[in-house]
């Protein structure tokens, strides 16, 4: 009887600790989970599909958010520039279309075609992936580096420091982080924050 109570307490502590870690999301240095999410071509995509990649630029983004829209061209540029170097962009829409109809799977297809997306644009159906990563807003970038079988989080945050005007950004966080990784170094700036849209969850 006593033993079972102790067991229960330990289980509760364990669950609580697990929940806390879960709700806080990743920090640089953590190992990121892989996922299997539906792409706009109706095929499922996982990080492990990219066997030649050195890592990934995972970007939580969406159709409706003005900040996401402002960065679309820059996301395409990042993919064009860094995919050949081993870091492809993997975009994930974390929003529930029931809460934000503009972010429906059908409209993701439309938007990707309009903007000429060169990368997978996945839907986080059931919203299971973004909370594990700890994405809080769109756009929200996670740069992962493949180390053995693991994908290690190396950078979390914004793309650069001027959403309005790319040419006026004087801090290009994602490019700097990728250039450091490609040179065999860890990024100097590992996390940044920026104003963005909340991730939409149906209440």
């Amino acid at each position: 009887m006593k033993k079972s109570i102790i067991n229960t307490i330990f289980t509760a502590i364990f669950l609580l600790a697990g929940f806390t870690a879960y709700s806080q999301g990743y920090k640089p240095g953590d190992t990121a989970i892989d996922f299997k999410l539906k792409n706009i071509d109706d095929k499922f995509v996982s990080l492990s599909n990219f066997s030649d990649a050195k890592g990934y630029i995972v970007i939580f983004t969406c159709n409706h958010c003005p900040y996401s829209k402002a960065y679309e061209d820059r996301i395409v540029e990042l993919d064009k520039r860094y995919k050949p170097l081993g870091y492809p962009v993997i975009a994930i829409n974390p929003n529930d279309p029931a809460a934000q109809p503009e972010d429906s799977f059908e409209l993701m297809k439309v938007r990707a075609k309009e903007k000429g997306f060169t990368f997978p644009y996945l839907i986080d159906e059931g919203q299971k992936v973004y909370p594990v990563y700890g994405a809080e807003r769109t756009p929200h970038v996670y740069i992962l580096k493949k180390e053995g079988k693991n994908n290690i989080v190396k950078y979390i945050g914004a793309i650069d420091n001027n959403y309005k005007d790319a040419s006026d950004a004087n801090k290009r966080y994602v490019e700097d982080a990728l250039n450091a990784l490609l040179a065999g170094r860890d990024p100097e700036v590992k996390t940044t924050v920026a104003i963005g849209c909340t991730i939409k969850v149906k209440k």
């Binding site: 003005p66 934000q100 809080e136 807003r137 929200h140 945050g157 914004a158 420091n161 001027n162 959403y163 309005k164 006026d168 950004a169 004087n170 801090k171 940044t192 924050v193 920026a194 104003i195 963005g196 849209c197 909340t198 991730i199």
Partner: protein, 171 residues
Amino acid sequence: MSIKQIMLITIAGVYLFALTGCSAKEFSSKIDIVNFDQLEPLYTKSDNVLYVVNFWATWCAPCVKELPHFMEVNKKYKQNPNFKMILVSLDDSQRVDDSVKQFVSNMQLDAELYLLDDIKRMNEWIPAVDSSWGGAIPATLFIKNGKSLKFFPSAITKEELEETVLKFINN
């Protein structure tokens, strides 16, 4: 057209004019464009006032949804010398005249209004508002005498807003 009809139309016209003129007078929709160095001192004063600082934007649906609740609470407490509500728009400063002021007027946003135009330093001022803030809006800070009392990095209900005001206003 009879005299009676003309009189009616005239009365209606005067009435409408008075109505719109009055609401325009009452509603100046003054928005100062500031950077963070100008904004921060406005809510970190040591004056025993509870500052409720809400960060929002016209394009942000959950912000727009909660603003009427903020107005209701502001209406109830704005006469209290220990209370001040500050709304900080994060809209594009180039759109202050063509869209933000119109929005403020339509929504009757009757609180102290600023537009924070400091986009290149987001990574500096977001953590200065609250170390836990990732930058998603809406976000609301409750602060008194420069001491942060509560920070909501998400939308809040009218009940949460009023409970938090009541909790801190007289302490």
